[in-house]
Assembly symmetry: C2
């Protein structure tokens, strides 16, 4: 059974002081850290392309796993909605070349935002099992600095640039359990790009997430015959401190199980969940963890991962 073997990441060292950004918009430090959740927002350099962020994360993964050779990689999926080119070609092909991967690699992009990692792990596992592949790289990289207007107070204090690379393969310490997904395109206009600039109706997105995510996680647990007491930790998309706190409060028994870690990263879109897994979960002694991603589409996905 294909599962998660290792995760590495790349977070640019350069970035924005979010307190300074807050001051510009008359937001105090309590708002920045308590509601937004991030004191610092990493920013890629102007000359770095999305594929370069992917390459940094994948090279960190190879460095951490010397037993994983480039020649053994046979699948690469990049989850992004802000790839290198204007849609064509796909970023995963550029990554194949920049990483020096063999040409027998199957490579494609998946277009999803903040729900993308949860979909991505099932898409990669499933594709590999259906096609008989052995070692997959699932890469997330969605640098919103490409599309966020620095004068838009609804978005410029939220998003950070980052990339992650997940190695999926056999004999993995973490396996994928039950998953549930959802899509409501009637809310597509709440998060969209027009003429190269990102727009978000923050109130609508917050309300959607608070209405949808706790119920979805409760349904997932119920269908798996579990309760929140059976879960060691919840790693949900770090949209903002306010949304993570609000979702956690809907789990009255165990709100402390919701991991919140975005002070130095911001909302990194599809990279937020794998960043949490890399830092807090993969090397922990925990046995079962719930994930939930939600955002642009509108789209959401929740899943259980576990140590077999």
């Amino acid at each position: 059974m294909i599962g998660i073997k290792s995760i590495a990441s790349y977070v640019p060292a350069e970035g924005l002081d979010n307190y300074a950004q807050g001051a510009k918009f008359a937001k105090d430090e309590e708002f920045i850290i308590g509601k937004i959740g991030s004191a610092f927002l990493p920013r890629k350099a102007a000359e770095q392309e999305t594929s370069d962020l992917c390459v940094e994360a994948a090279n960190a993964l190879f460095a951490n796993n010397p037993q994983l050779s480039r020649e053994s990689i046979d699948a690469v999926i990049v989850v992004t909605q802000n790839g290198d080119e204007e849609g064509l070609p796909h970023t995963a092909a550029i990554v194949q070349d920049k990483l020096g991967l063999p040409t027998h690699v199957a490579a494609f992009d998946i277009s999803l935002g903040c729900s993308g990692y949860v979909y991505g792990i099932y898409a990669m596992k499933g594709f590999m099992e259906a096609a008989g592949l052995k070692n997959g790289l699932l890469i997330t990289a969605d640098p919103y600095s490409k599309i966020v207007d620095p004068e838009d107070r609804n978005t410029t204090m939220l998003f950070g640039d980052a990339a992650t690379a997940t190695w999926l393969g056999e004999d993995a310490p973490w396996q994928l359990g039950k998953a549930k997904f959802g899509t409501d395109g009637s809310g597509a206009a709440h998060l969209k790009v027009t003429d190269g600039v990102f727009f978000m109706n923050g109130r609508q997105v917050f309300n959607f997430a608070l209405l949808k995510v706790p119920a979805h996680l409760h349904e997932l647990l119920g269908e798996a015959g579990l309760t929140s007491a059976d879960v060691d930790a919840f790693c949900i998309h770090q949209g903002s401190a306010a949304i993570v706190d609000a979702v956690a409060r809907r789990f009255e028994e165990e709100p402390q199980k919701f991991i919140k870690d975005m002070v130095e990263t911001g909302n990194t879109v599809s990279s937020s969940i794998p960043l949490l897994l890399e830092k807090h979960i993969l090397d922990s002694s925990w046995k079962r963890v719930a994930l939930s991603g939600f955002g642009v589409g509108l789209s959401w996905g929740s899943a259980l991962i576990y140590r077999p």
Copy 2:
């Protein structure tokens, strides 16, 4: 085992007389039909978005399969590099809403060009099996009329707009067999969009396809323990009449098994193979068919489908 249950399509009735286009570029009818392969190039209406083409194809699929309810759909993948919006949100979410599908649908886009259908059937089957889903719609829609310059003689005589919808589910008459994939991002510049306009180095792409596709199909057959005598038909991407003919000639035993049908459609990118399957394969008495898609990336994929 998830397999291919049904395929439907949408080809716009309006379009371009390709002989007239040829005359503009001093190309005679022999060139247009013999080398290009298409007398007519379907064109979507200006007001039709990519999602509208998807909806037309999916509605044809529902009309052909009254036993398939919208409520029973739990996965939608759109293969496109020319979606509705500027990358965000994904077209599959818009299709979910326009089709009136339930919100428990898992929906995302896959970014691939002419190789996209071969990848897409394995991605959909695998995702459904990994996530426990039952009825998936794999939709292809990549209207190059959005990006082709009508003054570019290298591209404007080639591409036609179309969309297809494939129902994947249990108890399917056609199952997915062995598959092989490949990617060479060092050739990314041979097919790309810059400032909204598509560029193709036709000579490089032809050479790539002729070098890669026959060898890849031979390898696939060899690894499956088969020869071309064991295959009833070859459905390869209809890039042009010249490339289909040239690949077929590399199969000296059975060139007549290569289906060529693009006179009224042109090169429809990821829709070309499912259009062949719909028209020539699904209701045939044939038992085993080889597929091969190749194009932007560079990317290629070959697979065997069979009646169990």
